[in-house]
Structures are given as C-alpha cells and as structure tokens.
C-alpha cells in the first residue's frame, strides 16, 4: 500500500520516510490490515486511518462520531499531509499566513468541526481522537490516557491548566472537543517530528491587530517535538502506546476486536463521508463560516492617504467605508507619520479635502465591493467595473484598488 504510493508520488518520498521506517520495524501495522469487500463498520473500538488526506480523515472521524453506538468508547488515530487546521469558529485571515500558504501551492487550510485554535499538521504529527458517551465524557480523563501513553515512551510529560500535554513549559500537543446530544470527543495533535519552522511560518500573520474578530482567537504557545526530548520516538511507537492506554482505561485489554485499518477507497460508497469530503474544501464551509470581523487600515500614497474600514460576515463584505484625502498642510502623510496623526487628519475628511471626481469613484468602489466574497475579488475586476472618470485620477484609483485587494489577499 505504502510502497505503491511512494512510486506514484516521487515528490513525497522524503515526507514518507517516517512511514516506511515504521513499516519495517517493530511497529508493522500490516499485521492489522484487513481485506475489504464491504464498507467498514463504525462499531469497532479502534481505527487507524491509512489515508493522509485531511478531508477524508475529518469526514471519517465525523462519521464514526455519529454512527458508533452511543455508549461505547472509540479511538481513531491518523496523520495528515501538510495542512493548517483552524477551529470551527475561527477567522482564517487572522489565524493563517495566507500568502505563505498560497506560495506553498500544496498546503491547504481546513476548518474542522470542533472548536479551539489553529494547528499545523504534517506527517510528523499524529492525531488522536477519543469518542465517548456524553454523560461520562471528561476531558481531563481523556487527556490522562494520552499523557500516560507519552510517559510510557520515557518522556516526562505533564498536562497544563488548559488541558494540553506539555514537556516542561512547551506544548507537544493541542486539543479540541466536540459535544453532541449523546456523544462527545476529545481529539488532538501530538508533535513527534513536525517541521516546526514551517509551522511557525504558516501560523504567523503579519500583525493584524486592527482586524477585530467576533470569532475565536488562538492561544499561541511555544511548541516542541517529542523527538526533541527523546530521540527515536516514532509515530508507530506513539500509536501503540495510545492504543494500549485506551484499552486499559476502557476495559478492552484482552478484547479480541481487531484494530481497523482504513483506506480512503474503503469508504467510497459511504455517502456521509463522501458528502463531508466535498463540503470541507468548499468556499461555503472554509470561508463562509467565518464569524463577523472588521478590518481598519490606513495607507499613504504619493497623492494622499486613505483609510479603509471593511466589515465582513460569513466571508462576504458587508460594507467598505473608504476615506480618502489629498495631502493637507500640517499633516504628516509620509510613511513615517503616526497612525494617530493620520487618523486625526482623516477624521474630518470633507468635500473640501476629497475632490468630487475622486469622491465619486471611491463611492463606486465601495458599492462594487459590497456583497462580494472577501479576498476573492481581483483589482482588474473592480477597475473594469468602474465607470469612466477623470483621467487625472486614474493613478490614484489604481493605487487605491490595488491596495484594497492586497489587504484582503494577505
């Protein structure tokens, strides 16, 4: 299975080093594999996904969550190809460095269904997901299961007051939780050998302090890999340890229910999973679930300055208020000028400071943006949609439009 994937994806050979490593050592999961002629059943206790497709893994997890008998414990373990995963009610423009993401060409961001903050997944990170009846769910107890697994690998880990697993003051794991009528789950990451520099680049956004969001903000913490505390810790070792602690905690030691190894292809006929896999990457879910936010920015140009206040909800621009001003005497409109002085200068923008043709065009730009998808409109679209206007203003208008589009792309 793994070897055929390697030959068809030469670019991924490096990233798969870890998986080939564990296949040839003690933790050979091929002994668990099952030939599937029918779709898998959701009624087993332990599942390991062979897929590294984050859309599949999240949809498969949700299917198990909704279909497994409500009173039984379940464990799922999986890894994803490089991706950024944001919480259900987060703002991707605030949490993710979208330009860096786009430049990577292969790394998507995915909005998961549970709450919490933003994390980075790659093959050096192992995800665990523990599902239990809602009435007996206790996130501290589930954290202890994972903690005991990490400690059994010879690492002196602890749980902090946010229920995250740490070694010393550094996080090695982040968690999120979901509760529905009969069930609840605790799922989380475990950093084993993740590329932390990539994590840092993707999760660091150029200061967007002036983006006020009603969504949930991440709580940023320094992170480390387990391998930095104990060389030789592998995905396979962690998986075995978690399975053992899970069985011990929920009285499944000696139970002969086999570990289910799941391929993406096994679930091609499961409508719920297929629907989830098409919903998660859709604009409606990824961007359209973004809570309301307001982004206020100032910019100086050769010809003057501008302030934009963009209000957006569910990924749509509700309004864009533009204040444009030519350079006025006594006002510092250079790049070195403080925001406060610029803001003060723009406060009293009147018909005197913004000449009529420019004011008219600015109004047109505001109207064109309203109702459009935030971050999904090009400068060319806006400029070609504007009516004919005074040629002397072309430069200013182009500057303004390019600036707005770049703001929303960042």
């Amino acid at each position: 299975m793994l070897s055929s994937r390697l030959s068809s994806c030469p670019k991924r050979r490096i990233e798969h080093t870890l998986s080939t490593h564990y296949c040839h050592n003690l933790y050979d999961f091929r002994r668990y594999s099952t030939q599937r002629l029918t779709p898998p059943s959701p009624q087993h206790s332990i599942y390991i996904s062979n897929s590294t497709n984050p859309y599949f893994n999240l949809s498969f997890e949700d299917w198990l969550f909704r279909r497994k008998a409500a009173d039984k414990p379940l464990l799922l373990l999986y890894r994803d190809d490089p991706c950024v995963v944001i919480g259900r009610n987060q703002n991707p423009w605030k949490e993710v460095n979208l330009p860096v993401l786009r430049a990577s060409k292969t790394i998507p961001f995915v909005r998961r269904r549970s709450g919490g903050g933003t994390v980075y997944h790659d093959l050096g990170n192992t995800n665990f997901s523990i599902h239990l009846p809602r009435t007996s769910f206790d996130r501290h107890m589930t954290a202890q299961v994972v903690l005991r697994a990490v400690r059994s690998l010879g690492i002196d880990a602890t749980v902090n007051d946010r229920n995250d697993i740490c070694v010393g003051t550094e996080k090695v794991s982040g968690s999120a939780y979901k509760i529905v009528s009969q069930r609840a789950y605790h799922h989380g990451t475990m950093l084993i050998s993740t590329k932390l520099e990539t994590l840092g680049d993707l999760l660091h956004t150029h200061s967007k302090d002036t983006m006020e969001t009603k969504g949930v903000a991440s709580v940023r913490s320094p992170v480390r890999n387990l391998q930095q505390f104990k060389r030789g810790v592998t995905h396979g070792a962690f998986v075995e340890a978690v399975m053992h602690e899970f069985r011990k905690e929920y009285g499944l030691l000696g139970n002969d229910d086999k570990v289910q190894m799941i391929d993406e292809d096994d679930c091609r006929d499961i409508e719920y999973i297929q629907h989830g896999m098409s919903e998660l990457p859709s604009w409606e879910w990824a961007y359209g679930q973004t809570p309301e936010f307001t982004y206020t920015v100032h910019q100086t140009f050769k010809w003057g300055s501008a302030q934009a206040k963009i209000k957006s909800k569910h990924g749509i621009i509700l309004s864009c208020d533009l204040c444009v001003s030519g350079p006025t005497e006594g006002t510092d409109t250079t790049a070195g000028g403080s925001v406060a002085s610029m803001s003060a200068a723009l406060q009293g923008v009147t018909a005197v400071s913004m000449d009529e043709p420019l004011r008219f065009v600015v109004k047109e730009v505001e109207q064109m943006l309203q109702g459009r998808r935030y971050g999904f409109i090009s400068a060319r679209e806006i400029l070609s949609g504007l009516g004919t206007h005074d040629n002397t203003k072309v430069g200013a208008v182009e500057d303004l439009v390019s600036w707005l589009v770049n703001l929303m792309d960042s």
Binding site: G87, G115, K178, I179, V180, S181, K214, V216
Partner: protein, 161 residues
C-alpha cells in the same frame, strides 16, 4: 432545612417572582392584574424553553447547569430567523473554552427572533443563561410537545445523581 432552601431558591430565582408555576391557580398578583402563564420545561441536553401560552412563543436558552459545565462561552452560533425546526433538530452551537457543543430545539416551530446581543457578548450565556442570555424565540407548532419534556425538579434530578 428544606423549607429554608426552598425559600432561598425562590428568592434568588428572579423568574419565580414574575411568573406563575404551571398549576391551575396561575395568578401571582391580586385578581385585578392578570399575569400570563409561563411554563418552563427542560431537556436532557440541558436546553430550557419558557413557553408563554398567550403568545404561543417559547424562549429557548441553555440551563445554568449547562453554562457552568461549559465554562466561559466564546462564541454562539444561532439559527436564522424564519427557520422551521422539529423537536431535537440542531439549531445552533456554543463554543466555550472547554468544547464546541451543539444546541437542539426543545420543541418544534418557527424561529421568530434571535438574541443579537450574543454576537458581541457571548459571555451573557454564562452571566445570565436563562434570562439575558436567551438564544432565540420560537413560535411553537405543537405546544403538547412540552408534556414530553422535564419540569425543573425532574431536570435537576436527572443530572444530580
């Protein structure tokens, strides 16, 4: 001891002073001032509906027990006004520092109004879950569904054991 507790509970619950209990003797004021009857019922998933039988509108909220289990609420997802829901349909979700929890309709009907204040102040759900932190108002399509839900006593007993 019990009678002291009852009196304490009655005086600390602001709603008790205003609303009658669901017994035939419904007046809490002298006969010349008539108060409407409001029936409060609870679900096992910790939602509460306060039904005003004169308007046929129910005010849906989460219970005080729910908000204390959830921890600090950071985000509330509400249904759209005009949505028709059936009893036990998911109508929204609450995200707290501890979990993202789905909220279910305690009764069937049409959503009339949502609490816009929760958008800027999700913490209202912790401060005043059954009062200022109301989630939405629903026009009940079948008030008899209330009979399947728990009264306050049964609800408290359901999670206290």
């Amino acid at each position: 001891m019990q009678s002291i507790l009852k009196r304490t509970l009655a005086s600390s619950n602001p709603l008790r002073r205003c609303y009658a209990n669901p017994s035939p003797r419904a007046f809490s004021q002298p006969p010349f001032r008539v108060r409407t009857i409001v029936t409060k019922r609870y679900t096992a998933e910790h939602e509460c509906v306060a039904f005003d039988d004169e308007t046929g509108i129910g005010s849906i909220s989460i219970t005080d027990h729910a908000q204390s289990s959830l921890g600090d609420v950071v985000f509330v997802e509400l249904p759209q006004v005009g949505t028709e829901v059936s009893q036990h349909d998911q109508i929204g979700a609450v995200e707290s520092v501890k979990a993202a929890s789905d909220i279910y309709a305690p009764v069937s009907g049409k959503i009339q109004k949502i609490n816009e204040a929760l958008s800027a102040q999700p913490g209202l759900l912790n401060k005043s879950p059954e009062n200022e932190g109301w989630l939405c108002k629903i026009k009940l399509s079948d008030p008899s569904e209330l009979e399947n839900l728990m009264d306050e006593e049964k609800y408290k007993a359901s999670y206290e054991h």
